[in-house]
Symmetry: C2
Subunit: 599 residues, 2 copies
C-alpha cells in the first residue's frame, strides 16, 4: 500500500511537541544527537521496514513456519528482512558506541520499533526478543558471558529467547519444574520442558541464546528458588566460535490464531544428558533479572498492541475515504453518485474512537519510553521520579493498549464490512495478531493484580501520589484554554475520585479481606486506564490548542483532530469510571461470591 | 468433547420455565404436540448434531472449500451431515404436515437450530439458508413456483441462497444494478454481479435456488424499483425435473477470517445470454419480500452469535474447572498442589460475564421465536402485540448478541490463556466465526439507524410503549421477592430513563436535525440493549427465586447461578446506561462534527 507506516506528522507531534525528545541531546550520553540524527534513524527504519518487512506481512501469515526433518523452515524473506535490520544497526541502536551501538534514547528506539511493528510484527519479533535477551546479559551477565554472547547478538548472528512458561506453569511461575544441577566445570545441567517459547527454533541465525528460568537442585520452592541461565542452542567458546549442539530439542511448533510468522515452540531441555547452562548473576535471583527484561517486554507488548491498532486505523481511514456507499440521510437521492462512507456519522464515530485509542496509547507508550530514558540518563530527581512512575504505569502500559487497540482492530474490520472479514484486506490479520497481546507477558488479569495488589501500595503509595501530582500539573496548565479547560475539569474530577477510591480500597484490604478487594482488580485497572489515557489526551489537547493560532492550514486540521479526539475520549469514555467507581466503592462481591457449582 | 452441546437443564429452563412453550400445544396447529414431542425433536437434533456436525467442526475450518476446474469441492463430511439433517426432517420442521413438515413451533425449531449452531455453524448454514429461501417461496411464490421448488428444498435435494449484495452496493441496497428484462415467455433475463453470497456454489445438492434482487428495466431508481426473482442454478420443469444449466457462473470464492466452511461466493448472472429468472409476487416489491426473510435471518444471526458465544462459554468453563494453575491469594504455599483456575476470582468474573451475555442473549432470541409463533398462531391480540414487539426487537436481537457474545468469545480465549490462542483448542475458532455476525444481514450501524430512525417512531411509538409496559409487568412481578425486588427497581428506573430519552431524541429530530440525532444511534442501540437484556435477566431471576424454595440441590445450584448472573448484569452492566444517557441527552455532536481532514 502507499500509506506511510506511521503518519510522519503524528510521530513528529508525539516525539517533539508532546515530549521533549529534542532536548535529550543536552544529556551527555546523547551529546552527538539532535532532532536531525533522531529523524535520520527513523527515516532509515521507515525505509528498511517498507522495503523488507511490509512486503511479506501477509505471506508470513499464510505460510507458517514448518517443522520437518528436524528443521524449522519459513519464508526466506524473514531472514532477508532481519539481516537488513541488523545491517542497519537497529539491534544495537540504544547501546554504547563501543558495543557498535548508536546511543539512541529509548523513546526514539521505541518509535523505530513501532514502525517495524506496523510493517510486520511477526518478523520484527525475532529482533525484539534478541534485543531484550541481550539487555539481560548486558545488565546482569558476567564479563565472560558478555564477551561470548553479546557481540553476536548485537550484530544479528545470534538471536535470543525468553524461556519462562512450562506446560503446567504459565501465570504461576513459582511452580516451574525445570531443574539445574551444578557440574564440576561450574556449568549447570538443565532439564525440563518449556512451552510458548517465541523464536525458540529456526534457521534465521547461527545460534539461539535461550534465557531459561530453572530451579537449582535443593533451592527453595516457589518464586524464591528460581535462577536464570543462558542455554545456547550451540555451545560457544570464549572466542565466540560455535561448537557442538547443546541438548536443547524442539518438541514441536504451536499453531496460533494469529502472529503466525513468529514460531511458537515447545522445547525440551536435557532429554539426553542435560543441557549446558550458564548461571546469570546469583542463584535464586532469576526472577528479579527476568523481571527487568519482563518490564521492558511489557512495554514492548503495549507498543506492539498500539501499532497493530494504528495499522488498522490507517487502513480503515483510507478505506472510508475511498469507498463510496450510500448517502448521508439528508441527501437520499439514488440518482446521485454514492458518497464515501466517511460521510456517514457512524463511520466517523468508529474512526474517531480508533484514533482516540491508538494515538492515546501511542502517547502512553512513548511517555514510558521517555521515563526509561530518565531512569538511565536523567538527574537524580528525574531518575527517582521516573522509576516510581514507570513501575506504576507498566501494568497499564501493557494491558490498556492490548485491550483497546484490539477493540480498534474490531472497529477497523467493521468499517470495511464484508471486505474487512476477508483475507484480501489486512485488517482481519491485525485483529488476529493483536488478540495475543492481552495474554502474553502476564495476562491482563495478572496486570490488574500487579497494579492494585502491589504497585499502588509499595513505597507507601508514593507512585500514585506522584502520578496524581503530574496529572494535576497538566490540569492546571489548561487554565485559560477555552477548549481544554472544561476537559481538564473532568480529568481533575477523575483524579480526585481515583484518590478517594484507592484509599477506600486499601483500607478495605483489612476490613473486607485482600481476596475480596482484589477480586475486582480488573475494574480498578480499567478505571485507572481511562484516567491515564484521558491525561494523555489532555496533554495532547493542550499542545494542540496552544499551537492552533499560529498553525498552517494543514497543521490546523491536524490540531483540530487532536482536540476532537481528546474531547471524544474525555467526554465519552472517561465517564464510564463513575459506574465502575460504584462497584469498587461497595467492594462488590458478585463475582467473588459466584460458586463453581452455580455455573 | 464430552460436553453436551447445550446444557439440557438450561434449555429446559428457557423453553418451559421462562417461556410457556408447553402451552403451545393448546393451539390448533400444535394440537398433536406436547413437551414430550418437542423434547423428542430436540433429542434427535442433539444426536444428529453430535454424530454428524460436531466431529468435523475444526476440519471444516482447516480445509476451506476450493474452486478448481469449475467445481467447488469441500470436505465430504459436510454433505453427509446435511443429508442427515434433511433425513431427520429438520428442513421442513416448522412446515405443515402436508408439506412433509412436523408443524413444530418456531421457538422449538430455533432451539434445534441453536444446537446445530453450537456443533458446527458453517455446515449448518447451508441448511439455514435453504430454510429461509424456502420460506420466501412458501410465503410469496406462485403456486407453480412452490410446486417446482419447494418439495426439493424441503427434502434437501435443492439448497437456497439470498443474493442481495453487489460489489459496489452492500449497505446501500437501493444502488444495486443487477437488471431483469422481461422475455416473451414471461420469464426474465437476469444480468449482474453479486458478492458475499453464502452457499452460492457447491456440489452439496442437485440444484441451488438463488433468490436474487434485481431491477426490472425501466423500474424506478433506488429501493422502490427492486424486484425479487428465483434464479436456479439448473432450470427445472414443472415436474421438478432438472434441465439445462442456467446462466449463473461462479466468479470466485472469498476467503474469510472465520466461518470458513461456508462458501462465500462472487456470482455472475447472465454473462452469456441472461440468466433465466422467475419473478416472485409483484414487480418492485422485492425488498418487502426479502425483508420478510431478512427479519428471520436477523434473528438467525443473533441466534448464531449467541450459540457461538455459548460454545465458548461451555469450553472455557470446562477448562477453568480442570486446569490447575496457581492458588488463591490467601493460600500461596508452593508446596501444595496448584488449584483449578476457577478458584481465581478474576476467572470466575470472566465466566460470569460470559454467562450473563450468552444466557441473556439466548433468552432474547427464544423470546423472539415465541413472538414469531404468536404472530403465526396466536389470537388477534397476541398477534398484533407480537408483531409490534418483534419489529422493534429485531435490530436488537441481531446486534446485541453479535457484539456481546463476540466479547464472550474474547473472554473464553482469555481464560484458556496461551492455549486459547492456539488452534489446538476451539475457542479461537468461535471468536473468528463470530466476528462475522456484526457485519452480515445489515451491519450493527444499520441496525442502530433502523431502531432509532424507524422502529421506535413508527405506529406512533406504540411498539416502544408496549415494550415498556411488558417490562413494567415484570418489574411488578418482582414485588416481595427479596433478591429480585432491588434488581427490579434498577430495571424500572432504566425504563423510565428510556422513556424520557426517547421522547427527547424524537423531539430533537425537529430541533437538532435528524442527521445529528442519528449520529449517536449506536449509543441508543447499546443503551436499549442493556435495558432489554436486564429485562431478560430479571425474568429469569424471578422464575429462579420463586423456584428456589422447593428445588432439589442440583436445581438450587442452577437457580442460584441464574440469580447471580442477573445480579451481575443488572448491577454491573446496566448502570453504563447513565453515562450513555448524558451523551444522548445533549445530542452530543463530537463524532458528528468530526471532519475528514482532521483525521
Amino acid at each position: 500500500m502507499s500509506l506511510p507506516l506511521i503518519n510522519p506528522r503524528e510521530l513528529a507531534f508525539q516525539l517533539y511537541e508532546l515530549l521533549p525528545t529534542a532536548e535529550l541531546s543536552r544529556r551527555e550520553r546523547f551529546a552527538d544527537h539532535s532532532r536531525d540524527t533522531f529523524d535520520a534513524a527513523i527515516d532509515t527504519a521507515r525505509r528498511v521496514a517498507e522495503d523488507y518487512f511490509a512486503p511479506h506481512h501477509r505471506e508470513v501469515d499464510e505460510h507458517e513456519p514448518v517443522f520437518e526433518d528436524g528443521v524449522v523452515t519459513m519464508l526466506p524473506q524473514v531472514k532477508v528482512a532481519l539481516d537488513a535490520y541488523a545491517e542497519a544497526g537497529f539491534l544495537a541502536a540504544h547501546h554504547d558506541y563501543e558495543l557498535g551501538g548508536m546511543q539512541l534514547p529509548q523513546v526514539v528506539t521505541q518509535a523505530i520499533q513501532g514502525i517495524f511493528q506496523v510493517a510486520n510484527i511477526a518478523t520484527q519479533s525475532y529482533a525484539l526478543l534478541t534485543v531484550a535477551a541481550a539487555n539481560v546479559i548486558h545488565h546482569f551477565g558476567s564479563a565472560q558471558q558478555k564477551q561470548r554472547f553479546l557481540p553476536a547478538m548485537l550484530d544479528g548472528r545470534f538471536t535470543g529467547t525468553m524461556c519462562l512458561t512450562e506446560p503446567h506453569a504459565g501465570s504461576s511461575l513459582g511452580d516451574l519444574r525445570t531443574s539445574a544441577e551444578l557440574q564440576t566445570d561450574g556449568t549447570y545441567a538443565i532439564s525440563g520442558n518449556k512451552i510458548f517459547i517465541s523464536g525458540g527454533d529456526h534457521e534465521l541465525s547461527q545460534n539461539i541464546v535461550h534465557l531459561v528460568l530453572a530451579r537449582i537442585k535443593g533451592a527453595p520452592s516457589g518464586t524464591r528458588g528460581i535462577s536464570l541461565f543462558i542455554v545456547p542452542k550451540f555451545l560457544v567458546d570464549d572466542s565466540g566460535t560455535i561448537g557442538e549442539r547443546n541438548d536443547v530439542a524442539l518438541a514441536g511448533l504451536l499453531h496460533k490464531m494469529g502472529w503466525r510468522g513468529t514460531t511458537s515452540t515447545m522445547l525440551n531441555f536435557g532429554e539426553k544428558r542435560g543441557a549446558t547452562g550458564y548461571l546469570i548473576g546469583e542463584p535464586n535471583q532469576g526472577l528479579r533479572y527476568m523481571f527487568h527484561m519482563m518490564n521492558e517486554a511489557r512495554i514492548g507488548v503495549g507498543m506492539g498492541a498500539t501499532m497493530l491498532g494504528y495499522a488498522g486505523y490507517q487502513h480503515s481511514l483510507d478505506y472510508a475515504r475511498n469507498r463510496p456507499q450510500g448517502r448521508p440521510p439528508q441527501a437520499k437521492d439514488f440518482d446521485t453518485p454514492q458518497r464515501p462512507i466517511i460521510e456517514h456519522a457512524d463511520v466517523r464515530a468508529m474512526l474517531l474512537k480508533q484514533k482516540a485509542y491508538v494515538e492515546g496509547a501511542l502517547a502512553l507508550e512513548l511517555y514510558c519510553g521517555a521515563l526509561v530514558d530518565d531512569i538511565a540518563t536523567g538527574d537524580d530527581q528525574q531518575r527517582d521520579a521516573a522509576s516510581l512512575l514507570l513501575d506504576l504505569l507498566t501494568p497499564l502500559a501493557k494491558s490498556w493498549p492490548s485491550q483497546y487497540c484490539l477493540k480498534a482492530n474490531e472497529l477497523a474490520i467493521q468499517i470495511l464490512g464484508g471486505y474487512g472479514y476477508t483475507r484480501d484486506y489486512p485488517v482481519e490479520q491485525y485483529y488476529r495478531d493483536n488478540r495475543l497481546n492481552p495474554i502474553h507477558e502476564g495476562t491482563n488479569g495478572i496486570q490488574a493484580i500487579d497494579l492494585l495488589g502491589r504497585k499502588v501500595t509499595q513505597h507507601k503509595g508514593a507512585a500514585l501520589a506522584l502520578l496524581q501530582s503530574k496529572i494535576g500539573e497538566t490540569v492546571s496548565a489548561a487554565d485559560g484554554l477555552s477548549i481544554c479547560a472544561p476537559l481538564a475539569n473532568s480529568v481533575g474530577d477523575s483524579v480526585a475520585l481515583l484518590n478517594e477510591l484507592t484509599a477506600h480500597l486499601l483500607r478495605s484490604f483489612a476490613t473486607a479481606g485482600g481476596e475480596a478487594v482484589l477480586a475486582n482488580a480488573s475494574v480498578y485497572l480499567d478505571l485507572c486506564g481511562r484516567i491515564l489515557i484521558s491525561w494523555m489526551w489532555l496533554r495532547q489537547a493542550i499542545v494542540a490548542e496552544r499551537a492552533l493560532d499560529s498553525a498552517t492550514a494543514d497543521d490546523s486540521d491536524f490540531y483540530r483532530g487532536k482536540l476532537q479526539a481528546a474531547r471524544y475520549y474525555i467526554t465519552w469514555e472517561l465517564p464510564e469510571i463513575y459506574p465502575q467507581a460504584e462497584i469498587l466503592r461497595r467492594i462488590d462481591p458478585t463475582c467473588f461470591e459466584m460458586q463453581d457449582g452455580w455455573f
